[in-house]
Amino acid sequence: MKADNWLTARFLDTVGLYVWAVALLWLLARGGYMLLIRESLWPLLLGGLIVVFLFIVGTVAQPAPAARRGSLLPAWNRLFLLLLPLVYLGVGGAGGGLDSHAFRKRFLSQQTLGRLDQALSEFEGRTGSGSLAEGDGRYRPVTLVQIHDALGEWIGEDVELVGSVYRDDRLGSSELVVFRFLIVCCAADAIPVGCLVKTDRAMDFESDTWVRVRGELGTTEMEGGVGPVIMAEEVEAIPPPRNPYLSGI
């Protein structure tokens, strides 16, 4: 690689590292990382940011070697590939986190709306899950994890639940599903968890609208099993939470 090409290649690599360092800083400072990975993993990103910064220092401080032949194509390739996830992050509409499309793709009836599974009991899910639930006395704030964890304790209770709306053709005109995702590390391992809601206003809410539902929790037959259902007395649209996910262990 010619000495000037070497410098250009080093410059391109440094640009890639620098852009990632800025992106990590931005995600940490703005809390945007919470749409992608678990909230409590911020130290991991901070550690990554520090190491990337050290890489930048090491690369900039490196003296140029003797002239060598070569092409700049690999350096451009590295730069474009390095920036690709950030392009998707910025342009792809990732601002709301996982949505009803992901819910449909990852939905497993026996795990989520259908037969309740002990597997979900391992997820504590209390962290960050009740922040929007502000019970007014009559209604007990509950999370989807608590419902799936110990449904028996909540049957017959007046509850208040926060989540995003999912609707499709399989649901009746007075039905919608309120769902959220449980994440362990990142959005790739997110498991959908939901609860059927019966309300006359079901058609008023589009998929991916965040709602607070108040009503009595019961059970209903669905897809060969028993699942939770809320007979809603009130359903109101609310702004999306800063952290849309429930956290696992």
Binding site: F55, G58, N77
Partner: protein
């Protein structure tokens, strides 16, 4: 290119010309891939698919990136501060002993599958036998205390799934390493350009000058950061490739329809292996996803997911190919799949025969 694998004592000048050609081809393919991915984004903008794809793609990369950076930093420090002599003194001389010992290295260096790759690349360049490196590469992300702990927690404090996972992971890794050692002894499984750069340049392959002997500690530390940074950039490009394909599969395949095919134990095990390859989960988190299938699938299928996933998935495949030859990689991948499938079928039969199975 693979016919060159059998050559020994190659002419450096000729092979480095071939390496440059291969490097150009790969770079061109990478650029086309990037352009295609951007095109998908621009054309698909406004569809329901793109936000999910964007979140999943960015999430996989963001979660893995700090681990890759850490692994690259460790690799850079090894490159600058650990001499090949010291490495060769630490490695047992007998091949099988080196492999079995390397399979347990994850207990000392507990890193996930993303961090293990830059460390392994650097260890190979320092003279660690490829077969021993493979054992560490495959077993490390499973046989380590963090993964053991997360598996126990995911299964509600039950130790058995963790013990089975570690034993199967270790057994598979050592077996694959022994297979690779017999078919590709020495460094024959390594990509020619990976070897050439190590031989021709400076054992780090990045076209830079190393500090002179007796250089200050500061200069050596800066050198380690530079080497780490270069490794980070190289490995991350493969991570991005694999993560994009994985995110695309997560976004387009419906899990319910996919798992509806799991009508027999063999089908369930096979499908969960396919899911492990497609989902690209971190080995420290995958047990929670596996455990969520307890109501629907046999334990052997969940175990197949947990054993194969940290060894082989789409992003790992891309990263392996950054230094392993195509044919050797295919042999590794096929060996892993056959071994895991066979082990899990046996495990399932044992469970069926024993009263009070683990499910």
């Amino acid at each position: 290119m693979d016919h060159l694998a059998t050559e020994t004592g190659h002419d450096l000048q000729t092979s480095s010309t071939i390496s440059r050609a291969a490097n150009r081809r790969w770079s061109l393919a990478g650029l086309i891939f990037s352009a295609g991915a951007v095109l998908v984004l621009l054309v698909g903008r406004g569809s329901a698919l793109i936000p999910t794809l964007s979140v999943t793609f960015a999430a996989i990369v963001l979660e893995a990136l700090p681990f890759v950076a850490l692994g690259a930093l460790v690799g850079g420090l090894i490159e600058v501060f650990v001499s090949p002599d010291r490495i060769s003194r630490l490695i047992p001389r007998r091949g099988w002993l080196a492999i079995t010992a390397a399979g347990l290295l994850g207990l000392l260096i507990p890193v996930c599958e993303c961090a293990v790759i830059p460390v392994t690349r650097r260890l190979i360049r320092k003279g660690v036998p490829f077969s021993a490196a493979v054992a560490y590469l495959i077993a490390g992300p499973i046989v380590n205390p963090i993964v053991a702990g997360s598996t126990v927690v995911a299964y509600g404090g039950n130790w058995w799934p963790m013990v089975v996972r570690l034993i199967c992971g270790y057994g598979t890794a050592v077996s694959v390493a022994l297979i690779i050692d017999s078919f590709y002894p020495g460094r024959r499984a390594l990509r020619r350009d990976f070897i050439d750069r190590a031989d021709a340049d400076c054992h780090c392959g990045h076209g830079h000058d190393h500090p002179a002997p007796g250089a200050s500690v500061r200069a050596r530390i800066l050198q380690a950061f530079h080497v780490g940074g270069q490794d980070f950039v190289v490995v991350t490009q493969f991570l991005v490739l694999g993560a994009f394909v994985a995110a695309l599969s997560q976004t387009t395949i419906e899990r319910e329809a996919f798992l509806a095919l799991a009508e027999t134990p063999a089908a369930a095990i096979g499908l969960m292996m396919a899911l492990a390859v497609g989902l690209n989960l971190c080995s420290e988190a995958d047990a929670f996803v596996a455990a969520s299938f307890r109501a629907t699938l046999p334990l052997a299928a969940q175990m197949a997911f947990m054993v194969l996933g940290p060894m082989l998935d789409l992003k790992l495949a891309a990263m392996y190919l950054s230094f392993v030859r195509k044919r050797a990689f295919i042999m590794m991948a096929v060996s892993m799949c056959i071994l895991v499938f066979a082990l899990m079928m046996i495990f399932h039969e044992l469970l069926q025969q024993s009263a009070g199975g683990l499910r």
